[in-house]
Each structure stands twice: as C-alpha cells, then as structure tokens.
Symmetry: C2
Subunit: 137 residues, 2 copies
C-alpha cells in the first residue's frame, strides 16, 4: 500500500461482481453465466490485502456486462465499470482493487487509472461527506 503518512490502514474495500451478467457474447441459456465466471476468475488469483469480493444480484447494467462496482466505506466514491471480459479481466480487477484501496477518496489518479476504467465507467456515487459542487451557470 502507499505510505499515506497515517497510522491507520486505509478502510477495506469491496469489489462487487454482478453474477447475473450475460456478458457481451452470445451465451447459451444453460451455460455458466459470464458474471459467475468473472467472479470465480477474480477469486482464483491472489486478492490484494484489504480487498473483499462479493457476488451481487444484478447491477442493472445488463446491456454492457460484465459489470462490477468498487466501494469502500463512507468516505469513498463508489465506481461502476462495465464491458469486462470474464476471463481476460480478472487481473485488471485485482490490480484495480488495490489502486482503489490506496485512494482514500476512491479517486484513482488519472495517470494511474487502468485504461479500461477510463473508457468504461458506467456511473459513480459520491461519498456521504462529499463537498458540494459550485453551481456555475
């Protein structure tokens, strides 16, 4: 983890994986869902410290699955990312989870942000204590 200069470790973060996603390819009705495959592929590798993975009942981004979300306590932005590949993107998600964990407000610095995250952010939700934006115009 980054040395934040704080005595306390960053709050743990959660990677939510939609296990209902059918993904971007045609999948036979009775095959394993791509969302389940992605969830299991993420668990098959070594998870970064402070990261948990939770299967979720539909994140409702069905046209652009597989879809995941990152959240981590009341002080972080929650991020939703789509168009993930159930086999190729497990490493990306574990690495992304570590970057998210190290960002105390959940904002991964742009230059460090994985390219897929830059291009496939579906939505984000502010932390409970987010400062109010200025209402320009």
């Amino acid at each position: 983890m980054l040395d934040t200069g704080l005595d306390t470790a960053p709050e743990p973060v959660e990677l939510l994986v939609c296990v209902k996603c059918r993904g971007l390819r045609e999948t036979p009705e009775d095959d394993r869902r791509p969302g389940v495959a992605l969830y299991q592929a993420v668990l098959d590798g070594e998870l970064p410290e402070g990261v948990t993975v939770t299967p979720v009942e539909c994140l409702q981004n069905c046209d652009h699955g597989c879809t995941v979300a990152f959240r981590g306590g009341p002080g972080r932005w929650t991020y939703v990312y789509g168009r993930l590949d159930e086999t190729a993107d497990a490493d990306l998600l574990r690495e992304g989870a570590a970057l998210y964990r190290d960002a105390v407000d959940g904002l991964i610095p742009w230059r460090a942000r994985p390219d897929h995250f830059k291009k496939n952010c579906v939505a984000r939700i502010p932390p409970l204590d987010a400062p109010l934006p200025r209402l320009e115009n």
Copy 2:
C-alpha cells in the same frame, strides 16, 4: 407514506442530481448546464417529506445525461437513472423520490415504477447487508 406497520418512519432518502450534465441536446458552452437546470427545477416544486436533494459533481454517465441517483441509508439499493429532461422531468423525480422513500429496500415495485425508471436505469448498488445471490451454474 405507505402504512408499513412500523412505528418508525422510513429512513430519509437523498436524490443526487449531477450538476455537470450537459444533457442530450446541444447546449452552448456558456449556457446554464442542463444538470443545474434540473437540480433547480426539482427544488422549485414541493419536495416529499423525508426527501433531500443534493447537487453532485459528475455522476460520470456523461453520454446519457441528465443523470440522478437515489440513495437512502445502509439498507436500500442505490439507483442511478439517466436520460432525464431538465425541464419536463422534475415532477417525475419528486414522485419517484416518494416511491423510493416508501420502499424500505429501495426496490420500487415494478408495477408502480415510473416508465422512465424502467427504461433508463444505468446501474444500481446493493445495500451493505444485501443477501448473497445463489450462484447458479
């Protein structure tokens, strides 16, 4: 509010309005942003009891704005909706906020759910204590 049979009122809910949204129409650079117009249009009407409205610095659904989110305590699903009209949809959002407030888990019953919400849900985030889904297949 619905009679829930509980002595306590439902947890208050929050309608988050992205004030950076440019909306679906061409808007001149120096005009008021559609997101700001939507935020102010919602505030111009009478808010349902237990509903607060918060302006937000970009919900990152920029291609399908105007965009809002509903959240309400640790027990409710958070919902993100896009493609809102900054003038026509203020009533919809106030009514939707009341429906969301009355749904203790944040799931507005399908038959009561406004048509726009059915068709323009961008994503949803589970409550912290959501039951884990069964991993079929």
